[in-house]
């Protein structure tokens, strides 16, 4: 029985990781069309860092994601802090609603957002791009931070008041530091979601401006380029690092300090 389960586990994970493994493998393969036999090369990495013009798009994506993640972390934390002070039933209603932007099909959401920003006179613009991504990342921060706060003993804030701290001091010295691991992991989550939000970016980017997902999509339409594998591999490694640190933050949040 144990052997069967272990094999099952192995197969599942092979299934999950096969595409990622292939990308990394092909980024190191000499063949430009992803064919075997495998011949090791770092040529594509060399091309990526010299000839390919992917870095402006990458840099734009990073700037967009980081600013969205920061804003989402800030607004989301305040929202969550407000929510824990509501009666449980009302808060449950809000958490339910918070999930909506994540579960609505993003294609629908993207089109709807385009309609809204056009109506508002923003049109396709950096502002629209920023706000659109904020909508799909904010829920993650709110939910992660809210769940952390709800698990936190509310008496610690009272205890700080009792020890002579004013309300502001309690917020900055107790509430925020205790929620910090959750705020961080919410921000990281937002960063990754925003980086990946092809659909939203497709509808809201100003004309002629391409984030990395849009740039890759654009290139794929013309033809396959192996240096994209190299870039993808680098992104995979960065995301892995992010996921691992996210897991560390989530599971052992208390041990961070």
């Amino acid at each position: 029985m144990k052997v069967v389960l272990k094999t099952w586990l192995l197969i599942t994970y092979m299934f999950l990781f096969a595409p990622i493994f292939m990308v990394v493998l092909m980024s190191l393969n000499l063949s430009a069309y992803g064919t075997f036999p495998f011949v090791f090369t770092t040529k594509w990495y060399y091309i990526l860092f010299t000839e390919s013009n992917l870095f402006p798009a990458t840099w734009l994506s990073i700037k967009l994601s980081v600013s969205v993640a920061f804003t989402a972390a800030f607004i989301g934390t305040l929202t969550a802090v407000g929510m824990v002070r509501l009666p449980r039933k009302v808060a449950a209603l809000y958490t339910g609603m918070t999930i909506v932007p994540i579960v609505v099909p993003w294609l629908v959401l993207g089109i709807a957002m385009l309609l809204v920003v056009t109506f508002l006179g923003l049109g396709r613009s950096f502002t629209a791009l920023f706000l659109g991504n904020l909508v799909v990342t904010l829920p993650y921060v709110v939910l992660i931070v809210y769940n952390r706060l709800i698990d936190t003993d509310p008496a610690i804030e009272d205890a700080a008041r009792n020890l002579g701290a004013g309300p502001n001091r309690v917020f900055f010295e107790i509430t925020v530091p205790v929620a910090a691991p959750a705020i961080l992991s919410g921000a990281l989550m937002s960063l990754m979601v925003c980086f990946n939000s092809f659909v939203i970016q497709y509808f809201l980017s100003p004309f002629g401006v391409r984030t990395l997902p849009l740039e890759i999509f654009n290139l794929i339409k013309v033809g396959y380029r192996p240096d994209m594998n190299a870039l993808a591999s680098i992104l995979v490694i960065v995301s892995f690092a992010a996921v691992i640190s996210l897991g560390k933050l989530g599971s052992s949040a208390d041990k961070l300090f």
Partner: protein, 358 residues
């Protein structure tokens, strides 16, 4: 070190009256327990004294000064929370130092005071420990140290021992009492555990549905209950219903089946319907003790060994079942079905008039 006075507190949540005319005063250095079933309003009193709740009316005075308008951070009242409420992102030292930092105590003085309080609470050498690494008892002592290091005027303890297991709870009771007396701080202790209240306190307040049933020292609150609730809440009590009879300058409680001699209390009227309360350990088995009055014969229904004491159920006159508690070695031979003789001292019977239902 201060005198605490609570004057006619009233508090309602919506339509529910939580506190009704609660008044008491506590002199310098004394320990008062507020005892009562859950939901009786005892924690509400602490939250009002500490400033987290505002009363509808009434005053809280410390050394004669009304503190009602002070926010919780200005009250100089230390509090130990039921959950301890230690800061999870700080170590032991930082937890204890927090209040000193908010009060801008100079660094040098801070170190001395923390050192002294950690000595008192036996936490020396644990300064760098994280809160999650501490046992329940240790967390309890950190919470105590954190409150006491500020030298508050009053110390409030909100069911501080309820999360600990039995053995450590017993040890912490003594420790809290010792520390309280060493520091000499006026303390209010909230609990639903009668043994805890009786062990620790100078004064006990028995609270029921928001009003004070009785306030007395532990001996009196146990032995001279002021109400039916008081006698039933503390200890195991038998309640028998009967009529008062006055005959030849003596008073009797007539249950219809048997008659018990009782001591006279003020307000007794012959023919009055009353409930008589007798604690389970005040009913004696008569093979060893001789009593002139109130001898009853009964049949043992059950005898349950619970360790130090055994609990027996004894049927008297085939109608009333009385619960009797005795030290286990004394009643080891008693088996169900055996006839026994019981005796009750008149002073151990407390009678309370049955209120007429409106």
């Amino acid at each position: 070190m201060a005198k605490l006075e609570v004057d006619n507190l009233q508090k309602s949540f919506g339509l529910t009256k939580v506190l009704d005319q609660v008044s008491f005063s506590l002199s310098d250095g004394k320990l008062l327990s507020i005892l009562g079933p859950s939901g009786c309003g005892k924690s509400t009193i602490l939250r009002i004294i500490s400033g987290f709740l505002v009363q509808d009316s009434g005053r809280v005075l410390v050394d004669g000064k009304d503190i009602t308008n002070l926010t919780p951070d200005r009250r100089e009242i230390g509090m130990v929370f039921q959950s301890y409420a230690l800061f999870p992102h700080m170590n032991v030292y930082q937890n204890v130092a927090y209040g000193l930092r908010t009060h801008r105590v100079p660094k040098s003085e801070m170190a001395d005071r923390i050192d002294q309080i950690l000595g008192l609470t036996r936490l020396k050498g644990m300064e760098k420990r994280r809160i999650q690494q501490l046992s329940g008892g240790q967390q309890q002592r950190v919470a105590l140290a954190r409150a006491l290091v500020l030298r508050p005027k009053i110390l409030l303890l909100d069911e501080p021992l309820s999360a600990l297991d039995r053995k450590i709870r017993g040890e912490m009771q003594y420790e809290i009492r010792n520390i309280q007396q060493e520091v000499g701080i006026t303390t209010v202790f909230v609990t639903h555990d009668q043994e805890e209240a009786l062990t620790l306190s100078d004064q006990v307040i028995l609270l029921n549905e928001g009003h004070i049933e009785q306030m007395a020292d532990p001996w009196h609150i146990y032995n001279q209950p002021a109400s039916l609730f008081a006698s039933d809440f503390l200890g195991r009590a038998n309640i028998i219903t009967g009529t008062l009879v006055h005959k030849e300058s003596s008073w009797f409680l007539d249950t219809g089946d048997f008659c018990l001699t009782i001591n006279h209390s003020e307000g007794f009227q012959p023919g009055q319907k009353v409930r008589g309360v007798i604690r389970a350990e005040h009913i004696r088995l008569l093979d060893s003790v001789y009593l002139a009055e109130n001898q009853l014969s009964g049949i043992v229904l059950s005898n349950i060994f619970t360790g130090t004491v055994s609990k027996m159920e004894i049927a008297v006159h085939n109608t009333t079942a009385l619960e009797v508690i005795a030290l286990s070695p004394h009643v080891a031979e008693i088996k169900p079905g055996m006839p026994v003789k019981l005796g009750i001292l008149p002073a151990d019977i407390h009678c309370f008039p049955i209120r007429e239902e409106p």
